[in-house]
């Protein structure tokens, strides 16, 4: 039996929850959130540290506290949520199939919101040499064991990668009595936020070594140690700089990848840079009526921005449900070599919009400009720009001076 819905939201994390609430409040009430976990909240469930909600609520909350505000609203509004159900297929005709203990659930939606979040990059994806003993965990997995399963993954810890979760785990494990020996980052700059370097590493005297990487992993049963070396400007290990660290645990915090297996199965085009769908200023993918927001679209620094992005998406979905189509986007946004990517990748020119982007390397006293037909239509000046911090540029419909493509450049 097929269940008809105006909107099916895939994922009950911060993006899915915010989209649902916003849709409902704008009158689109025939919606359902499908969540594979037993509870709503997504990855925030295991983020028991604070620092969430500073932008949105002007207070510092833990992950569960932040998500609970949304979950409470969802419950209050009686928005339908199906938990313990894993979506296995999305079709371009907007059919959604999920597996649950109740059986195979088949939905026919007018619109679909992709809010699946992201997953961690693995050791295999970056081909770290060495053996494969027990004791190697990605940061999020270690966080899940410690915070959700009351399970201590190790005592003598080395961390590879200065991603935010890795640094947060450095502090978390130190607080639980483990010895965190060091954090190593292959890039010459940290990949996580400055506040986490301060609060999670410096406050606990955990050294951060930039331009270093793990070149060997030792141990057959449980991890016994790692070899670390300095890297040159091409990120290749420099022979003679190797140092051995005895440890029983290696935590990897080497990047997050938007979780788009379902999107790909449906024929949604992805951006090779963000690994998320290519979207327009409506957050609509190349398939009409399928939208994406949150970490499934681009990996964010702060959950506050995930919620905001999902709310912006909801406004578009409301419009789509009403009109059954949105203005096609024909104005491409092209980023220069210093910019990693932009979201959206194209715009319709019919509405105000925001460009999210990241610089590829740390920059000082720079100006980022949006150029159309040779004219800078918007510029922002920054004292410093770092890859760890997402930059946002707001433009209004009236900023556009033609239908030419937009170029985003750094000076």
């Amino acid at each position: 039996m097929t269940i008809k819905k105006d909107v099916v939201i895939v994922g009950g994390g911060p993006a899915g929850l915010a989209a649902a609430i916003s849709l409902y409040k704008q009158g689109v009430e025939d919606i359902v959130i499908i969540e594979r976990e037993k509870q709503l909240g997504g990855i925030l469930r295991q983020c028991i540290h604070d620092g969430f909600g500073l932008t949105r609520f002007k207070q510092t909350l833990s992950g569960p506290e932040y998500s609970q505000k949304f979950i409470d609203l969802v419950k209050e509004l009686k928005i339908e949520c199906v938990t313990d159900a894993t979506v296995i297929e999305i079709t371009p005709e907007k059919k959604v199939v999920a597996i649950s203990k109740l059986g195979l659930l088949v939905y026919q939606a007018k619109a679909i919101v992709l809010a699946m979040g992201c997953r961690e990059r693995t050791r295999g994806a970056i081909s770290i040499p060495g053996s494969r003993p027990a004791g190697i965990y990605s940061a999020g997995v270690a966080q899940s064991y410690i915070n959700l399963y009351n399970t201590m993954v190790g005592q003598e810890v080395v961390i590879l990668g200065s991603g935010d979760i890795g640094m947060i785990m450095a502090r978390r494990m130190t607080l639980e009595g483990a010895k965190v020996k060091a954090v190593f980052e292959i890039q010459p700059y940290p990949s996580g936020l400055p506040r986490n370097i301060e609060q999670c590493l410096n406050d606990y005297n955990i050294p951060l070594y930039l331009s270093h990487t793990v070149t060997n992993i030792k141990g057959h049963s449980r991890l016994e140690g790692v070899t670390v070396a300095k890297v040159d400007e091409h990120l290749h290990p420099i022979s003679g700089t190797e140092r051995d660290y005895a440890c029983d645990t290696l935590i990897l915090s080497v990047g997050l990848i938007p979780e788009n297996e379902l999107s790909m199965g449906c024929g949604i085009k992805l951006d090779g840079r963000t690994k998320g769908p290519l979207v327009d200023d409506y957050y609509q993918t190349n398939i009409a009526g399928i939208f994406a927001a949150g970490n499934v679209l681009q990996v964010h620094d702060l959950v506050d921005f995930v919620s905001a992005e999902a709310e912006a998406l909801a406004a578009s979905v409301v419009e789509y449900i009403k009109k059954c189509r949105l203005t096609p986007a024909a104005i491409n946004i092209i980023a220069d070599a210093d910019i990693g990517y932009t979201v959206p990748q194209k715009v319709s020119g019919e509405k105000d919009f925001q460009i999210s982007l990241r610089v590829k390397r740390p920059l000082k006293n720079c100006e980022i400009s949006v150029i159309q037909a040779g004219t800078a239509i918007k510029s922002i000046k920054l004292q410093k720009a770092i890859p760890a911090e997402m930059i946002k540029i707001r433009l209004t419909k009236s900023d556009l001076i033609s239908i030419d493509d937009l170029k985003v450049v750094v000076k």
């Binding site: 594979r36 597996i99 295999g124 027990a134 959700l148 399970t151 201590m152």
Partner: protein, 484 residues
Amino acid sequence: MKQVYDVLIIGAGVVGSAIAREFSRYILKIGVLEKELDVCYETSGRNSGVLHGGFTYKPGSLRAECSVEGNAEFDKVAEELDVPFKRTGKVVVGFDKKDRESLLKYKAIGEENGVPGLEIIDKARLQELDPSAGGEFAMYSPTTGILNPFIYNVALAENAKENGVDFYFDNEVIAIERDNDLYRVVTKKAVYQTRWVVNSAGLNSAKISSMLGINGYIIGGFKGEYFILDKKAGQFINMPVYPAPGPTGGFATHATPTVDGNVLIGPDSVLVDDLVDYGATVSAMAGLIADGSKMFKHVKPEYFIRNFSGIRPKRIDKETGKALDFVLEVRDEAPNTINLVGIESPGLTSALPLARRAVKMFSEKEPLVPNENFYPKRKGILCFAKQTDEMKKTLIEKDPNYGEIICRCEMVTKAEIIEAVHNSLGVCTVMGIKNRTRAMMGRCQGGYCETRIVEIIKQELNKTTEQVLYKKSGSNMFTGTVRK
């Protein structure tokens, strides 16, 4: 009184497990000693998963005989033991005149060995068979296939177990003594008495051979590393693509699809002293990418999900250093023993033919009484992901645990994990569950499901956090609980 085994087999790799299974056709008390915590920990689980045709082995050799025989019967074996298997065919590709000569040579050898259907094909036909293959021409071997090596080994062992064979894991043999007409086999855990000993210890076969009093064998460990590519790369490949063998024979790095849809790039071949070091090396990885790209056009870092390696136990000639044929023997200086040394590739293909020959050797010394209750079939864990929607519905109705997806990459359900946790061999490592279900083998490498699988192991087997093992003895995953 301690029980006395009729046959004690050392090593639960694919050959040891096949021998156990073939002996279980007769009324015998059989045991298998394995130093690891599961079957197929070493060479049997660390290879390309190819059912070889048999065209590269010297005519008249045991390798040639067993691989041709093993290849021919495998459709029946796969059905009987419920082993994922595809007879894909294989292309051995060449680029120049030297390669063409090599292919012609091996085609002739193959024909002499009785390999059916070998043909030299041009580039157009090669592209038709496998559009992603490199090469200007090829030899096509239609009978070559691919199988799941973990499941095959598990299936042989489970079928042996069902037919009465005892398996003892974590039992590394440290000494073998002759005591009147019996052998006392001493392991790190216990002492076992047996009338016959079978040495199928793979990498340790020369060592066990010496313990039996058969000296002089040298095993050279030839390590080969692999990349595993994402299933997204799997769509581009139809069959194994191998390079034409060089002057010394043997294959260099090739591209092989797996029965589950991934692609393996490898192995290279490096002689190593350390037979337990499976670590990935930077030099090998670079070589695999360069050589693998000649075979398969889609070797891209974005497809890399894991590296692994295996070590082939080749029997080496003391004088020349050359690799020699498989040994399967009974020797006067070691009565009541069956000695297998240097079983490397094509060991997977040859396992059952070797096992039958071992049983025959036994029967030439002692009469065998058929076991009328022998049951040749074994049923594997039903793969939910491969079922139709209708079947999925039915399964969930029957058991709601099918409605809970634990591994999202490979779509493995809680029902399958629970079935694997209660496997008949009593294996309870995380790796054991992985090899039996494919959970954690996908692109997120357990990022989503490992925590859940650990919970299921703890709950189903009543284990504490400290007791959960990753793969080997001592591979404890956790140091304890965070709070009491």
